[in-house]
């Protein structure tokens, strides 16, 4: 079984984002970059699937030269090797899916895993766009019903069940869980409650240094690099007016009744 996981390098979600004064983008000085948290969950699931089905986990990343750090992190978690398509920052989902199509056509994995969205642009488009371009089936928002405190989770069992050329995926949908049978090769995007990703161990980090990362340029992966979504301006959201701290429960009730008039 060959599994390809895409990872995106994103601004650390714990760091407050500041917009440049001219609204052309965000401030990136001193910024720390991490693997998109959803993609980290995809890497973890791929490693667990490899434990059961053997084979290889390949990391694909489209991003700036520095994004090689995020590929190394995934390799330190246990992935086997990487493919880095070097590009500018914050690419358009249409272009990313075109470039990934080339990588996947070359690698021909049985399964592609990725996060359901990246926490920088919050678009959530690449998975389904890529599946369409490949002519593959898709199962988005893979999750599981068991909690992250369950025994199966503690035993690091994969939540995605693969038998023969079919994967059974439990999807988190509005109002519940939907189960689909996905033919392989297929594409799965993962949601938050699929697993708790492991940390890279020290030996893992040492080993990762020697693992292969193949590099190519964006233009080698797709001749069409024109963004379809043009970002005209970035601005901060409207701020809420400052609230007050009430002294105790009776004053809270009084405010809600007589000032906010919501009860």
């Amino acid at each position: 079984m060959k599994i390809l996981v895409t990872v995106k390098s994103v601004e650390d979600p714990e760091i407050k984002i500041k917009i440049k004064p001219d609204g052309s983008g965000i401030e990136t000085d001193q910024m720390k970059y991490v693997i998109n948290p959803f993609d980290e969950i995809a890497v973890e699931e791929a490693l667990r699937l490899r434990d059961v089905h053997k084979g290889e986990v390949v990391i694909a990343c489209i991003g700036k030269e520095d994004a090689t750090h995020q590929i190394r992190t995934a390799l330190a978690m246990g992935a086997d090797r990487g493919v880095h398509v070097v590009s500018g920052n914050l690419l358009d989902p249409s272009v990313v899916s075109l470039a990934l199509k080339k990588v996947i056509t070359d690698e021909s994995p049985d399964l592609v895993l990725m996060g359901k969205q990246a926490v920088d642009d919050d678009m959530g488009q690449v998975g389904a766009m890529l599946a369409e371009r490949l002519g593959w089936g898709q199962a988005n928002f893979a999750s599981k019903e068991e909690s992250l405190e369950s025994a199966d989770e503690k035993a690091k069992k994969p939540a995605i069940k693969i038998e023969g050329r079919s994967a059974t995926v439990v999807r988190e949908v509005d109002g519940g869980f939907e189960t689909v049978a996905l033919s392989l090769p297929g594409l799965i995007t993962v949601d938050l409650r699929l697993n708790v990703p492991r940390y890279a161990s020290l030996p893992g980090i040492m080993k990762a240094k020697k693992k292969e990362i193949k590099t190519l340029q964006l233009g080698d992966a797709t001749s069409d690099t024109t963004p379809r979504v043009k970002i005209l301006k970035m601005e901060p959201p409207a701020q809420r007016a400052a609230g007050i701290i009430v002294a105790d429960v009776p004053s809270l009730v009084e405010k809600l009744k007589n000032e906010a008039k919501v009860i």
């Binding site: 601004e11 979600p13 407050k16 984002i17 917009i19 965000i26 899916s97 926490v119 642009d121 919050d122 678009m123 488009q125 389904a128 599946a131 369409e132 371009r133 089936g137 898709q138 199962a139 988005n140 928002f141 019903e145 909690s147 369950s150 059974t168 988190e172 949908v173 509005d174 109002g175 519940g176 939907e178 189960t179 689909v180 049978a181 033919s183 297929g186 949601d191 938050l192 963004p227 379809r228 979504v229 043009k230 005209l232 301006k233 970035m234 601005e235 901060p236 959201p237 809420r240 609230g243 007050i244 701290i245 009430v246 105790d248 429960v249 809270l252 009730v253 809600l256 919501v262 009860i263």
Partner: protein
């Protein structure tokens, strides 16, 4: 002149309340482009939904009805949306944001070579939209530069659609074979709740890590029931399995904007604030005076929730 097609989701023979935001979005785009607005209903036996949608000032209600569409499948829905978009010559294809829209519409965008804007907050013109990035810390104005454009509309940002007229209902024959799909429907487990639907509730009471689950989260539920409110939760509460996953409020969960949002034992991570800071009145109860939730709260109470919530329940019952 760009015609607009909006997919309208339904449940139990009615358009979903959250789906109405998509119709409003479609009305705004059609008004700005000068094109027609067309609605699409997909399912099995959806005549009543189609009849209800005739009255939303639209040109046509398109219906794809049949056994093959009884359950949601990506491939079935994509075939239906593609056929409907071609039938009404749509240049803008959209829907209210939902798990179905986020599954189907990017695939449709790739099929039509379209650019897509996710979670639109505001319509500037028929090709320019405002949308959130970085958990709502940035509002970007984006232009979709392709001939066909695809959007999902954030449900909290669009009021109820204008009503009027009586549009024609047109059936579209879409022939698909679910047995040949690459992703086949197996089963759906719906989580039923007696409480109001989180996404559209007027009042929401949410609990976080501070409730420590168990009895603490029961206090959240008791307060919700007193208010007739929906229950919401933070990622930590969902991860721990204290509540159903689909009650998570935040960047990657539900985005809500009720008249009253009560946050109990919630510190207020950026990702949670992204899902509730458009609420009209926000109340926060947390023992940590430094908790970021107090920066967005209209009324903050620095207190131990295990004492304050029972006291609040008593006071409200008076």
């Amino acid at each position: 002149m760009s015609n607009v097609l909006i997919l309208v989701e339904h449940a139990e023979g009615q358009a979903k309340k959250t789906a109405l935001a998509g119709i409003t979005f479609g009305q705004q785009v059609a008004a700005k482009s000068g094109g027609t607005l067309n609605l699409l209903v997909i399912g099995k036996g959806v005549g009543a939904v189609a009849a209800e949608l005739k009255a939303f000032n639209v040109a046509k209600v398109l219906v794809v009805d049949g056994d093959a569409f009884e359950n949601f499948t990506t491939e079935g829905y994509c075939a239906a949306v593609e056929a409907a978009a071609k039938s009404c010559k749509a240049k803008v294809i959209g829907s209210a944001s939902s798990s179905i829209a986020k599954d189907v519409l990017p695939r449709i965008a790739a099929r039509f070579g379209a650019a897509m804007a996710t979670d639109v907050l505001d319509v500037v013109d028929a090709k320019t939209f405002k949308r959130p990035m970085w958990a709502g810390n940035v509002v970007a104005t984006v232009e979709l530069t392709t001939d066909v454009k695809v959007c999902t509309a954030r449900t909290t940002e669009f009021d109820a659609p204008a009503q009027g007229g009586s549009a024609a209902v047109e059936n579209i024959n879409v022939s698909v074979d679910p047995a040949a799909f690459k992703a086949k429907f197996v089963s759906l487990k719906q989580i039923k709740s007696e409480r109001p639907d989180l996404a559209v509730a007027d009042r929401v009471v949410s609990g976080g890590r501070g409730t420590k689950g168990g009895d603490g989260f029961k206090l959240v539920e008791a307060l919700a029931d007193h208010f007739g409110a929906a229950v919401g939760a933070t990622r930590a509460a969902c991860d721990a399995g204290w509540v159903a996953n689909d009650l998570q409020v935040g960047q990657t969960g539900k985005v809500v904007a009720p008249d009253l949002y009560v946050a109990i034992g919630i510190s207020g991570a950026i990702q949670h604030l992204a899902g509730m800071k458009s609420s009209k009145v926000i109340v926060a109860i947390n023992k940590d005076p430094e908790a970021p939730i107090f920066q967005v709260a209209d009324y903050g109470l620095v207190a131990d929730l295990f004492k304050a919530v029972p006291e609040l329940l008593e006071a409200l019952k008076k």
